[in-house]
């Protein structure tokens, strides 16, 4: 889980004004959002339309990203595939975060026995590193977009759970929680007004960082033939199709992959930027 230690503060402690990198990331994020919600604005064509005569064209003026083996315009497919990938990324992150919050909260609030049990459970899950848990899930329930999404969510859940549990423990024993007890607050009041808000605060940033990771993993599964299948305009699927033609038509793999990278980088930069801002609030 890359999110684990990426929330490092800006070292000087001073709030930085949005720089070039943040601005670029913001623009990219805007582009991606538009592509996801209303792709026709950015790419008016039909992503599934076949033009066999125009197959395997390298990037040129008519087809900015080239065409694939069935003559479909890659630029159009990449733009229309944004929705697919973003939805999968959001869904997988939501599953992972949701499970992680549940597990982490259970461990942190219900006493030592539950904490021990959940910890052991998490330890076991960590013994299936990275994609392996997802692959195990897929071998049980079969390949497909839905399965792949759930699989990625499950794989990321232990990482989130560990972070949230650690945060909960830190907050629970913080001085301001004791001060609230001294002021006469009940345990419920302290939980609702102090512990939960402070624990869940970093979640937003975690999620943003995690979306990039989730999109990459989902695309990887598609690439390996276990997720979305062609002719779906999902980026990973496009890469999978392009695999066979890598030597003759490199652009079929390059551009979808580029967009995956850009999305992941954008999510990371935005996440860190928000994190920095929140530390100085």
């Amino acid at each position: 889980m890359q999110a684990e230690l990426l929330t490092g503060a800006d070292h000087s402690g001073r709030p930085r004004h949005p720089g070039l990198v943040d601005g670029a990331a913001g623009l990219l994020a805007l582009f991606l959002l538009v592509a996801a919600i209303a792709p026709q604005f950015l790419a008016p064509g039909d992503p599934l339309a076949i033009h066999p005569l125009a197959a395997f064209q390298p990037p040129n003026l008519t087809h900015g990203f080239g065409t694939d083996e069935s003559g479909r315009d890659i630029y159009t497919r990449v733009v229309h595939g944004t929705r697919y990938s973003l939805v999968i990324g959001f869904a997988a992150t939501a599953i992972g975060l949701g499970l992680g919050v549940i597990l982490g909260t259970l461990a942190g609030t219900l006493g030592r026995v539950v904490d021990f049990t959940v910890n052991r459970f998490l330890e076991v899950l960590f013994a299936f590193p990275g994609l392996l848990l997802a692959l195990l899930f897929i071998v049980i329930f079969g390949p497909g977009v839905a399965t792949a999404t759930i699989a990625v969510g499950l794989s990321t859940a232990p990482g989130y759970a560990r972070i949230i549990r650690a945060q909960l423990i830190t907050v629970r024993s913080a001085a301001f929680v004791e001060a609230a007890t001294v002021l006469g607050r009940t345990r419920w009041q302290i939980l609702l007004r102090h512990i939960l808000p402070n624990t869940l605060a970093p979640l937003f940033v975690l999620g943003t960082l995690g979306i990039g990771q989730a999109i990459v993993w989902a695309a990887t599964l598609s690439y390996l033939g276990l997720g979305a299948a062609p002719p779906a305009a999902e980026w990973g699927a496009m890469l999978s199709a392009g695999r066979t033609y890598i030597t003759s038509a490199w652009w079929m793999s390059f551009f979808p992959g580029l967009f995956i990278v850009l999305t992941a980088v954008t999510a990371t930069v935005l996440g860190r930027s928000i994190d920095r801002r929140m530390r100085h609030l």
Binding site: A174, A175, F176, E178, A179, A180, T181, V182, L183, G184, T186, R193, H194, P197, N198, A201, L281
Partner: protein, 554 residues
Amino acid sequence: MSNRAAGSAPAAVSVRNLRVGFGAAEPVVRGVSFSIAPGECLAIVGESGSGKSVTARSMLGLAGANAHVSADRLELDGQSVLDLNDRAWRARRGKDVGLVLQDALVSLDPLRPIGREIADSLRLHTSLGAAARARRVLELLDAVGLPSPELQVRKLAGQLSGGERQRALIAAAIAVNPPLLIADEPTTALDVTVQAQILELLEQITNGGTAVLLISHDLAVVSRIAHRVAVMHEGRLVETGRTEQVLWSPREDPTRRMVAAIPADKPRGTRLTPTDRAGTPDRPGTSTAIPAPIPGTSSVVLEAIGLSKSFRRPDGSRQCAVDDVSFELHRGSTLGIVGESGSGKTTTARLLLALQAPEQGEVRVFGRPWSAAPEKTRRALRASIGAIYQDALGSFDPRWSVADILADALGVRHQRRALQADTRLTSLLDEVGLAASALQRRPLELSGGQRQRVGIARALAGRPDILICDEPVSSLDVSVQAQVLDLLDDVQRERGLSLVFISHDLGVIHHVSDQVAVMRAGHIVERGPASRVFAAPQHPYSAQLFAALPRLSL
């Protein structure tokens, strides 16, 4: 430590008109001049931000990456060090001047054995072989008074006690016998008794012929060993002279304020600052009379009876933190609990606040069960006991503003927009000497003293009768400390509060307490009226503790 012939050698350091600035901002050091002869100890005293640390670091060329240093004269051991390049500086550092920082736990590399740290200077500045260096390290550790050096050499800083590692740090600084030793707050992180030992060590070093530049915010500490004192204020040395003269007949205002702010030897009720709580000048000291008890009620508001609590150590054995502790707090008075680290005073505070339950004994409030009562019953009483903490910032919810904190303590909702018109909030702020504009701020944006004032305001919001103060001024500058102590005094008198004041700082305890209890290793070794205990301590430990107290009376 060699013996230099004092008087014939050049001044160990000579500075004239030193100016240091960072970037385009105002210079931090504005024309500082001094010199130190071999075998002499000069102390530069000032508050944080006065520029004293930057001055000290400039003697080593380590003022900072983007520091602009200029002077008419800057000489170490007779040779100018102005405009030296990096390489030339590196040859001087360690050899012509040594540096001792505060808190050896972080000033020595925590991952390296202390033997290696000490041998560094030898490696860099001498041509001694490894075996010769090892021998010299043992000699140095012996010279600084570290027992069994052969056993300690391989240890990490974290495995030694506070005093031992500070000695090791000093050994590292004097390894190649520099003519000048700069000690920047060398005793701040230490217990009082250990502090006295380290000061003694520095005195030995001075007597051996080394010139010592001692930087501190604490006049009382430096008065022990400094021959001369220079007071630094806003980048300038406002007064320099022999120690007795500066302390007993200060000429300048900043010096006078610093001397006045020292709490030791000033009985309760004496004002430490010439201003009133908001910082505006002049309000004469008022009576120290303790309010008479209301007839028909006992004057005991808080009572600890035979408290005991122990903890489990990491290796499974039990450690007794508090053992059979008993005391009484009378209405309107202040009970001071003093002890060094590990004495159990923090645990006592937590027991008093019912944050933990005692294993034996109980705490009673207004004669009613407190520690023995269930939390539900206790909660109703909690409003009558307030608390202020050493780490004010940590005691506030990091997401809340000052207005949020106070409104929550008052139990009211507040309007986000018309904050300054909310008299409930502004009157609280007024009472602790803060302007209404503080309401929108977050504690992070406030200074240490302001944060503590907010903490006091929050504690007062519930209209308590008792206030438990756990090291409330320990992390504050002496002058800010004086303001906060005066504020507590004012508030106590106006509201008729009874205070339990816990601290390791003897001077502060001496100033604030009516009754004092001395703690050691979980026991109360002595108890009684402050004036009597301090003047004539009966238990040997108390006597030892008070003897170590740095006082202005030389």
